[in-house]
């Protein structure tokens, strides 16, 4: 009875032109019915597949550079009729700023562990309906530390995509010194290899790794410790080649010999130029985990769920790993990977190197003092 009334109401709105055709078909369920019918009558809708009505014709994915297998995304579009429109970002702050400003049209995006709490606090993302992501099976994850930041106040807001570390890449053709620590990195960058080192254009890692020089916590908010880090950064600034998170081109061209790097980039550099090796500072540093989440304002939530579920399918996720070079905590995916990747020490470093690493904290990212230190470092 109610359903009938609702249908008539929507029909009237459609007739008056106050809702679009797609909205009308969507809310009344006629869209699904038509799509099913169309599926049953091949040729009526041509190449469009049966799901087209239910998950729309596009899903907007916002992510990081070099972070997906294009073949996977194309396949998703071909089988569901929903084309994946990908946008890439340079920093979590930028993503946060855009989503906070609103009107993004994103359906799925890829936040890093320490940002999720802030997104929840600002009411920008929705708790996930896990029944719509059957491929997400937390019991298969090797380490709960990688999945845990997705849960805020007991609700799952984000599911694990992949994880990695922040260390540095060294071109051993030019740098012969054995390097094992952040102390080595900063001392050589300011000394013998002046003009050859790069650091991220990113507060969290640049200040965090300067803090590690003194053995302080990566997440320190202590005024005195931060002042020490700032002193080191300002001292190193004239010696740096660049402050830029896009360090692969300069490392490849030989302009830079030393750079702070994330697992995947280090992996890609080493794969193409074996002389570029990856070092995790023995004092520690950052370990992180990226997630899939759905913005509250997502215009196509069914599409978002379908895409996340698809990308978490172990066979699909395996191809994702082969494309981006970051490890995934899902054991089912690990088992599918070729032997040389399972034993790759850049992706899966030794346990004693991993244990001193710290996850970035939400407060570290939004701390105004750290933001200001970074800005002073850059504009010095």
């Amino acid at each position: 009875m109610d359903q009938q009334k609702e249908f008539i109401k929507q029909l009237r709105r459609y007739e008056k032109g106050s809702v679009s055709r797609r909205h009308f078909l969507g809310v009344t369920g006629l869209g699904t019915a038509m799509a099913v019918l169309a599926g049953a009558m091949p040729g009526v809708y041509g190449a469009r597949k049966a799901f087209a009505g239910s998950i729309g014709d596009k899903v907007a994915l916002t992510t990081w550079p070099n972070y997906h297998s294009q073949a996977n995304l194309d396949k998703f579009g071909a089988t569901t009729g929903a084309k994946v429109e990908m946008t890439v970002f340079g920093s979590n702050e930028e993503m946060f700023a855009k989503l906070k400003a609103g009107g993004t049209g994103w359906d799925v995006f890829v936040p890093t562990n320490y940002t999720i709490e802030n997104y929840v606090k600002e009411d920008l993302i929705i708790p996930l309906d896990l029944s719509q992501i059957p491929n997400y099976q937390p019991q298969n994850y090797t380490d709960q530390r990688f999945t845990q930041p997705g849960t805020v106040n007991g609700k799952v807001y984000a599911v694990h995509k992949d994880w990695g570390t922040t260390g540095y890449s060294v071109n051993t053709k030019h740098i012969s010194e054995p390097m094992t620590s952040w102390k080595d990195f900063w001392d050589l960058a300011r000394g013998k290899y002046t003009g050859r080192a790069m650091v991220h254009d990113y507060q969290l890692t640049t200040i965090g790794n300067a803090l590690k020089y003194y053995g302080h916590s990566f997440n320190s908010l202590d005024e005195k410790e931060l002042a020490e880090a700032e002193k080191l950064l300002l001292d190193a600034k004239p010696h740096l080649f660049a402050i830029n998170s896009d360090y692969q081109p300069s490392m490849r061209s030989g302009d830079a010999w030393l750079t702070v790097a994330w697992t995947g980039d280090a992996n890609q550099l080493h794969r193409d130029m074996p002389e570029i090796i990856y070092v995790i500072g023995k004092e520690g540093g950052e370990i992180w985990s990226d997630f899939y989440a759905i913005p509250k304002e997502s215009p196509n939530k069914p599409g978002a769920y379908a895409l996340i579920n698809y990308l978490l399918d172990p066979a699909v996720n395996k191809d994702e790993v082969l494309a981006h070079g970051y490890p995934v905590a899902d054991k089912r995916v690990f088992d599918l990977l070729p032997k040389e990747i399972q034993t790759n020490s850049i992706m899966y470093p030794a346990a004693e190197l991993l244990s001193p690493l710290e996850f970035g904290a939400a407060a570290t990212l939004t701390n105004p003092a750290r933001a200001e230190i970074m800005a002073r470092f850059k504009s010095a």
């Binding site: 946060f96 003009g195 105004p368 200001e372």
Partner: protein, 295 residues
């Protein structure tokens, strides 16, 4: 004075005229209000606020953001050094080029030469700046210099690289206004000067240059104002080490999410611009003894 009287006389007869004037001015007035005054008001209001705990804007009334401006002194200094020097170099290179195009070149090949000046605009500025990254990078000019026996030259990510990028990018913008003012130059004046015994340099100094001054002033202003807000060139050719105010602003809005301080910096930039441009106009006006307007 006479013009003002004439306008008044023309306005008087019909009151209806006023309605038409208002109607015709409405679109530009609306534009002016919505896209200049209103945003400016927002920027002023935000600039006395404070950064919200997770970033962004939180209402407040404080001048702390303005007091904190010296923290961005390096960005202001870089901009105030590199923008005028870039403008000056553009002028020094652009003037002879414009002079050649307008006065010396064969009228039949002139059009082709003018098109060649515009050709770079057919490709995205971003792509052309990327090309400079490679030219100035270690496999570009430094490799060539090394081959010539001058090893270990570093160009990319230095102020010099930014300056080269600026001059390259803005040169065409200064050539055109100067070209236009030189093209209008009455060639008989040059002949008269020569007849009266003026040396070529004297003729240039006393006749050609003063008559092309409006073009020079407009061109310099065009380049200078755009350079003050430049972001892309220092970002790409300065490697995050040569910071302009534009870069500081992007950082404040998108990275540290300190919108109030960003607004205060933006206001400071507006003030710096108004002051420098009016000083510049006053200086050139005295030099010329007449009004100069933007073309």
């Amino acid at each position: 004075m006479t013009m003002a009287v004439a306008t008044e006389a023309a306005m008087k007869p019909e009151k209806k005229r006023w309605g038409w004037t208002a109607l015709l001015l409405a679109p530009s007035g609306f534009w002016f209000f919505m896209l200049l005054l209103l945003p400016l008001a927002v920027v002023i209001v935000y600039s006395v606020g404070v950064r919200a705990p997770t970033g962004g804007y939180q209402a407040a009334f404080t001048f702390d953001n303005y007091l904190n401006l010296p923290a961005r002194w390096a960005a202001f200094r870089n901009t105030l050094v590199l923008a005028p020097s870039g403008t000056l170099i553009c002028l020094i290179i652009g003037y002879p080029l414009a002079y050649y195009l307008a006065v010396k070149s064969n009228p039949r090949s002139r059009l082709l030469l003018l098109i060649l000046v515009i050709v770079p605009f057919w490709t995205s500025f971003l792509i052309r700046t990327y090309a400079w990254m490679f030219i100035l990078g270690s496999r570009g000019i430094p490799a060539l210099l090394e081959w010539l026996g001058i090893p270990d030259v570093r160009l990319i990510n230095t102020p010099l690289a930014v300056l080269i990028g600026i001059v390259y990018g803005y040169l065409p913008l200064i050539v055109f206004p100067i070209y236009v003012s030189l093209e209008k130059l009455d060639k008989r004046l040059l002949e008269a000067s020569a007849d009266l015994g003026g040396s070529p340099f004297g003729t240039f100094r006393q006749i050609t240059f003063p008559l092309s001054a409006p073009g020079v002033i407009t061109g310099c202003m065009l380049v200078f104002i755009l350079l003050m807000g430049e972001y892309l060139i220092p970002q790409m050719l300065g490697g995050g080490k040569v910071f302009f105010i534009g870069n500081a602003l992007v950082d404040l809005f998108l990275q540290s999410l300190n919108w109030p301080f960003g607004c205060a910096c933006a206001m400071a930039l507006v003030v710096v611009m108004v002051v420098t441009v009016s000083l510049y106009l006053r200086a050139t006006r005295q030099l010329q003894g007449r009004d100069v307007s933007l073309m």
